[in-house]
């Protein structure tokens, strides 16, 4: 009997010890955590800049952003309640999307948080610069604008140092900051509305409502999107939330229901309660003051307005910079631990126990972006990156629901699925694309970063990632030479593997190479892999020792590996990658138990995914071979077919019948070209010098091959270049030959190209 998968309820948990955080956060507290994360630096720093682009339509921009955010919040409510882990969006993308997406989600998340850090550092620089200017403490006649960037660098360095020390803003200090900034915004709104209702002229400030048209509103939406992303923290705190299935989705919804009206009210009061004293409209006046717009507005209608707003701005930007320094470091640290980035990123300082190299890299990124770009472009870059990240989550919810739909315990289900996630994707893509209109430079940075990410993934991270999740090797014997041709021979039952051992040995000997004997210990899905370790010795004695005795007679070097795996095919593929295997030799008994597989689930999987040549033998023995037939169809395949046929022919002193079928009606030129290409490939093999290519015109290639196979002791079958529709409807020619032909068969598949591998992986992902 096997164990059921670990369920969420305590009654079903296994006795195995598991560390869990205590669940302290109730529904009100976790909602306030989300509110505190959203109301802060974004609204302080970006209101002025966004008002300058949207005009009074900033109100509309905040409301429309609320709709877009609400759509993504539905996805967060579903996934956050079903998979309430600290990883949040990054984890879901990892679960739901293939290959580079998980890497890119981390890579983009690192950049997004770091650039958000740059934005907050610049915001802090501006706010502190204004404080110094107000106090008359700016030396050498410097202005706020001139001192903004040096101050941004200093504060970024300070928070890198604070994070290095391992001090975080938690407990009382964190709560004080949250209460202070929410309180200041509250006073700003109340006093602003008071001023507006006592001065009817204020309402004229809202006409024209959208001076730059809808494009200004869309730009403001993109610019302020970052002020809405804080609800993600609710999901990241999922492990500490009481009754998470219920409270996480509710907190996501209610935090937005609190924050969106507050933002709308801030926009109303900022535009309405200000009097510029000139013909300049208030929205333009706010835009001219950029990140200090809100502080300057408060000067007009709020008692101690500028002072309070400056305090609020300084506290918010510091708190947000601390949080983003921490989160960008945590993301790059996690990527180092997942082997997506160099191991140095996962190094922890021996004294402070903080990931100092990940922190240094994140700090460098924050400072570089703050120094390189103006604050509007930094904000735009951060916004575009967050939009693309949230977009990935909306794609991930579709695939996760499809892959694990009825296996998860949901606290909330997105209605109109998958229409609403798709609408969210389209809207976010539209807003992100529109940001190019506002800041092309931001997009260049984003595209550059993603491009570097792709390059890094395919040249570096992909292989390391694979090494990390590979099936464990529990026994390995190595030979000294690293550069030798390697033939991998998976062995399950040595008593039936005589022909395979001979074939592998002949291939290795021909290339002056070695054989790797692999035995995979299959472990049921429900059982942890480590349990399989108790079967290692048995495998060594019963399988590998016998195979070793049989292999010794061929006098080729060999080594041995034992792996534990839930899927034997995965273990074979892992060995191919780790040992840099050139050829895999496998056996087939001649039947499949799975209706959806062509040859057998393991062989099909290896044939499809192995990045090396593969031979699949259907034969009880390889003795007494006097003639071999090898139907070749195209040059790349012909190379390997001739090589294998020649090795076997030399060993058995056998003849080779090379055969090429052409369809009736093939034009003379086309036929000549086909044959010339194959002949050219054959000419490269000295063994094929004396061989004639027998060309036959036939409608039924399968029948023709099967007929010829009756006259030979061994039939070689190679991969073909058939159209996808034919493969789908009828199966490939080799599959049909292997099902129909009697006698000994050897399927020969040459190494795939990188493009073929990518396309097949993609098709495979969507078929799963």
């Amino acid at each position: 009997m096997t164990d059921a998968p670990k369920p969420p309820s305590a009654s079903h948990r296994t006795a195995q010890a598991r560390t869990e955080l205590s669940r302290d956060l109730g529904p009100f507290t976790i909602t306030m955590v989300g509110v505190g994360a959203m109301i802060g630096a974004g609204i302080f720093v970006l209101t002025g800049i966004a008002a300058g682009t949207a005009g009074p339509g900033l109100i509309l921009a905040f409301a429309a952003n609320g709709v877009v955010t609400f759509l993504t919040a539905l996805a967060y409510a579903e996934l956050g309640s079903a998979i309430p882990e600290a990883g949040g969006g990054y984890l879901w993308v990892k679960q739901g999307l293939p290959g580079p997406n998980a890497f890119l989600a981390g890579w983009m998340s690192w950049f997004a948080h770091a650039v958000a850090g740059s934005l907050y550092a610049l915001g802090f620089g501006s706010y502190l610069g204004l404080v110094l200017e107000e106090l008359g403490w700016l030396p050498f006649g410097l202005t706020t604008g001139q001192i903004e960037k040096p101050l941004a660098v200093l504060i970024a360095l300070l928070f890198v140092a604070i994070n290095f020390k391992g001090v975080s803003e938690t407990g009382l200090a964190g709560n004080v900051v949250t209460v202070a900034k929410v309180g200041i915004i509250g006073v700003f709104i109340v006093t602003g509305l008071w001023a507006m209702f006592h001065d009817p002229v204020s309402w004229d400030n809202f006409t024209p409502f959208t001076p730059h048209g809808l494009s200004g509103v869309l730009t403001a939406m993109g610019l302020t999107y970052i002020a809405f992303e804080g609800y993600e923290i609710i999901v990241q705190a999922g492990e500490e939330v009481k009754d998470p299935k219920r409270n996480i989705p509710r907190a996501v919804f209610w935090s937005l229901a609190i924050v969106i009206p507050i933002y709308i009210l801030v926009a109303i009061t900022a535009v309405g309660a200000v009097h510029t004293g000139s013909a300049t409209p208030t929205w333009q006046w706010l835009g001219d003051h950029k990140e200090l717009g809100l502080a300057e507005a408060a000067r007009q209608f709020m008692p101690l307005g500028t002072t309070l707003l400056l305090i609020g701005g300084l506290l918010s930007t510091m708190s947000a910079l601390n949080a983003t320094t921490f989160s960008s470091t945590r993301v790059s640290f996690a990527m180092g631990r997942d082997r997506n980035l160099p191991d140095a990123f996962a190094k922890v300082h021996h004294r402070t126990r903080t990931p100092y190299l990940a922190l240094a890299a994140s700090g460098t990124l924050i400072i570089l972006m703050a120094l390189t770009l103006p604050i509007e472009d930094v904000a735009a870059a951060a916004d575009v990156m967050f939009l693309l990240l949230f977009l990935q989550v909306n794609v991930a919810i579709i695939t996760i629901r499809r892959k694990y739909g009825d296996k998860l315990d949901y606290g909330f289900l997105v209605p109109f699925f998958p229409v609403l996630p798709i609408v969210a994707i389209v809207l976010m893509l539209g807003i992100a694309a529109f940001m190019f209109h506002f800041s092309p430079v931001a997009w260049y940075f984003v595209i550059g970063w993603i491009g570097i990410g792709f390059l890094l993934y395919f040249t570096y991270a992909k292989k390391r990632e694979h090494e990390k999740r590979a099936t464990p090797v529990v026994l390995r014997e190595e030979l000294e030479r690293e550069d030798r041709y390697r033939v991998l021979l998976p062995v399950a039952d040595p008593s039936r593997a005589g022909a395979l051992i001979k074939l592998a040995a002949l291939m290795a000997r021909h290339h002056d190479g070695e054989v790797t004997l692999l035995h995979v210990i299959p472990v049921p899905e429900q059982t942890p892999l480590k349990v399989g370790r108790e079967w290692i010795q048995g495998a060594r004695d019963e399988v590998l020792d016998q195979a070793e005795d049989m292999l010794e007679q061929y006098e080729v070097p060999f080594n041995m590996t034992v792996r534990l795996a839930h899927q034997p095919a995965e273990a074979i593929l892992d060995e191919v990658v780790e040992r840099d295997i050139d050829m895999v030799v496998m056996g087939w008994r001649g039947r499949t138990r799975h209706p959806r597989t062509a040859i057998g689930s393991n062989i099909d999987h290896v044939l499809r995914h192995a990045d090396c040549d593969v031979l699949v033998l259907r034969a009880g023995d390889l003795d007494a071979i006097s003639s071999i037939v090898a139907p070749v169809s195209y040059p790349q395949q012909a190379h390997l077919m001739v090589e294998v046929a020649a090795i076997l022919a030399v060993e058995h002193d056998a003849t080779i019948d090379l055969y090429h079928a052409v369809a009736p009606g093939t034009g003379r030129d086309e036929r000549a070209e086909e044959i010339a290409e194959i002949q050219e490939a054959l000419d490269e093999h000295p063994e094929a010098e004396h061989l004639e290519l027998d060309v036959e015109e036939t409608r039924d290639v399968v029948r023709a091959i099967v007929k010829r196979s009756k006259d030979h002791d061994l039939t070689l079958i190679g991969a073909t270049r058939e159209g996808w529709l034919r493969k789908l409807v009828a199966g490939t020619i080799p599959e049909r030959v292997m099902r129909t032909a009697r006698g000994r068969l050897l399927l020969v598949k040459h190494r795939r190209t990188v493009i073929q591998t990518g396309v097949l992986d993609l098709i495979d992902f969507f078929r799963r």
């Binding site: 059921a4 679960q95 998980a102 509103v217 998860l408 315990d409 606290g411 289900l413």
Partner: protein, 87 residues
């Protein structure tokens, strides 16, 4: 990433419950559709109002719509828990 990772995280239902829970959302989806349409209409009204009374009607309706949508989703969460706990 696959079932094993989710299993390790302890987020999967017990195997005997796989396929036994419906994936039909518990939110009153037609009401939500009406509310969503009203939300879009309120945004359009705000825009067309050009800072005049229609803009403020639009903003007011938007806030009502926001709270209605939140309440609908909140109730859906409650219903979903009841459905899961009933089994």
């Amino acid at each position: 990433m696959g079932l094993e990772d989710l299993q390790e995280q302890g987020v999967l239902l017990p195997k005997e419950e796989w396929g036994k829970h419906t994936l039909k959302p518990t939110v009153a989806k037609w009401w939500l559709l009406v509310v969503f349409a009203a939300g879009v209409a309120s945004l359009v009204a705000s825009y067309l109002g050009d800072g005049g009374p229609l803009t403020w009607v639009g903003v007011g309706v938007f806030l009502v719509v926001l709270y209605t949508a939140t309440i609908l989703c909140d109730r859906a969460v409650e219903r979903q828990r009841e459905r899961m706990e009933r089994r």
